[in-house]
């Protein structure tokens, strides 16, 4: 048994929440109306732009992949379902899977930036120390998300070895999948998370494809040794080409070198 031959991840299109948060980061908190705050983030719809992005993703998929897929998964959240419906994939029967929902932001969910900064100053500081392990109050860390993703990856491994699978999901979830599927170090993950290069971002409707098929020779490999990442509505924002996936194993000296790179603050002087 192995993972599917191809695993294609698609982030949902721009949502009401994306728009509200983007405006809020510039100091405009007007989108956080009482009605908006009285709704859970699982019910956010796509914006008009988000719908256009989803149609661009549909276009890219139809031109660059052999359709249909053998299995279709979608997060249980509305913005992912709306995106999946707009992809209009042939013969699609979508499994709505709870484990593919977005990371739970707990008490920080549906909250304008100024309120986050004033109410959760210490929490935000902790996030800067280590964004991988950091957990919002009553929410989930990326490490927590990784745990639930392993459940769905086990299912894929068991049921879809020789097949091709698509999942319409969320940004944080795709970051957690990248960590697991590329066997990144936590440091690499944090560097990418902090990167300001648009080509390192997972934009709305970004498509990330993992493949066990060698992109040139067509040879079927045992692992996902290749991936490509495409922003279908503006390919200048993404790397687009096939990249090798280097899942590293660590030697003893790698381990010691990593430990040595951290300054020791407390020591036993006896």
């Amino acid at each position: 048994m192995a993972m599917p031959i191809d695993l294609v991840l698609v982030r949902h299109g721009e949502s009401e929440g994306n728009v509200a948060n983007r405006l809020s980061r510039t100091g405009d908190h007007s989108a956080f109306t009482a009605d908006f705050r009285a709704r859970h983030s699982s019910e956010w719809r796509l914006s008009k732009k988000g719908q256009t992005q989803a149609k661009a993703a549909a276009e890219w998929l139809s031109h660059n992949l052999d359709l249909p897929f053998d299995r279709h998964y979608v997060s249980t959240f509305i913005r992912a379902k709306e995106t999946a419906g707009l992809l209009d994939l042939p013969d699609a029967e979508w499994y709505a899977e709870l484990h593919l929902r977005e990371r739970d932001w707990g008490q920080l969910d549906v909250m304008p930036q100024d309120e986050r900064h004033s109410k959760f100053t210490e929490v935000e500081q902790k996030r800067k120390i280590n964004s991988f392990y950091w957990k919002p109050p009553d929410g989930e860390s990326i490490a927590d998300v990784d745990l639930r993703l392993r459940s769905i990856l086990n299912t894929l491994h068991r049921e879809t070895s020789e097949k091709r699978v698509i999942m319409v999901v969320h940004g944080e979830l795709m970051w957690a999948l990248r960590y697991r599927l590329e066997r990144m170090s936590i440091d690499e993950w944090i560097q990418l998370d902090n990167s300001k290069d648009p080509k390192d971002e997972i934009h709305n409707c970004q498509i990330i494809q993992y493949s066990r098929k060698h992109p040139k020779t067509g040879e079927i490999l045992t692992h996902y040794n290749y991936m490509r990442s495409v922003c279908p509505w503006d390919t200048s924002l993404s790397s687009n080409d096939w990249q090798p996936v280097d899942r590293q194993l660590l030697s003893n000296s790698d381990l010691l070198s990593e430990a040595g790179s951290i300054q020791r603050l407390v020591n036993n002087v006896d």
């Binding site: 509305i78 999946a84 979508w94 709870l98």
Partner: protein, 267 residues
């Protein structure tokens, strides 16, 4: 390879002192419990609850119903590791080994253990506000959210089922059973929330009730064809004659949607 059992029967433990106390506490009613008993309950964690005499009588009614309607030919008998579930398993008087599974324990209520909804609303208004938006995703401070219960029960079921045709009987708890029921009947989280808010009965699982899910094409024919997912369920409270009389198989919709069904969900 699908590894869901062909039959999953979930049994809730019988009534405990904690159930009596919490039921009265929720409604603000007096109980038959003495002051001393109430103090003793407040001083313990809900994980340590034992069955009342009524609870023992309730669970004794489960076995005859199982014998009459299903038979005792399960491949796996499992119980939550909490005392009230183990007492329930003992009362079933099954001549077989039991798996004792931590993953079938009740949801951890964290700081809210032993607190009534009114006390929670008064002391934790921000939590009450978020819970009103979504019961399913709002985690208890210092405790578990229901998605975590979903994760551990699903991993447990995948781990225990060694053969796709296995039958599994599991003794567990209200919130844990309700989450498994939600997953395997493909209930949306908004439906779960609405049902809890409206008390429409879908999520009523009284003490010593059974939820029986099957992957048989014909729910009454275990030797016929099977489906990849649970296609039927029935719910019954064997100590309640009306519930027994009204018990019927209910169909479960398949867990997937076409493009047009997705679009209809949005509308």
């Amino acid at each position: 390879m699908h590894i869901l059992p062909t039959r999953l029967t979930l049994a809730r433990h019988g009534q405990t002192h904690g159930n009596v106390f919490m039921r009265a506490n929720k409604k603000g009613e007096a109980t038959n419990l003495s002051e001393e008993e109430i103090r003793a309950i407040r001083a313990t964690h809900s994980m340590d609850e034992r069955l009342t005499d009524t609870g023992i009588w309730q669970v004794q009614q489960i076995r005859p119903w199982l014998v009459a309607h299903i038979g005792l030919s399960y491949d796996w008998y499992a119980t939550s590791a909490l005392p009230r579930a183990i007492e329930t398993a003992i009362a079933l008087d099954i001549d077989s080994d039991w798996l004792v599974a931590e993953d079938l324990r009740e949801r951890d209520h964290g700081l809210f253990d032993r607190m009534s909804p009114a006390e929670i609303a008064q002391q934790y208004p921000e939590f009450a506000r978020r819970k009103a938006l979504t019961r399913y995703f709002t985690a208890n401070p210092g405790g578990e959210g229901l998605p975590n219960v979903d994760l551990r029960t699903q991993l447990w079921l995948h781990g225990v089922t060694s053969h796709p045709n296995d039958w599994v009987l599991a003794v567990s708890h209200y919130e844990t059973i309700s989450v498994m029921f939600k997953r395997y009947t493909n209930m949306s989280h908004s439906r779960y929330h609405d049902s809890q808010e409206s008390k429409d009965g879908l999520l009523d699982i009284p003490n010593a009730s059974i939820i029986d899910l099957v992957r048989f094409e014909d729910p009454d024919d275990p030797f016929g064809g099977t489906t990849p997912f649970f296609g039927w369920y029935r719910k019954v409270t064997p100590w309640d004659k009306q519930s027994v009389a009204e018990c019927r198989w209910q169909p479960i919709s398949p867990p997937f949607y076409s493009n047009s069904e997705l679009k209809r969900l949005i509308r």
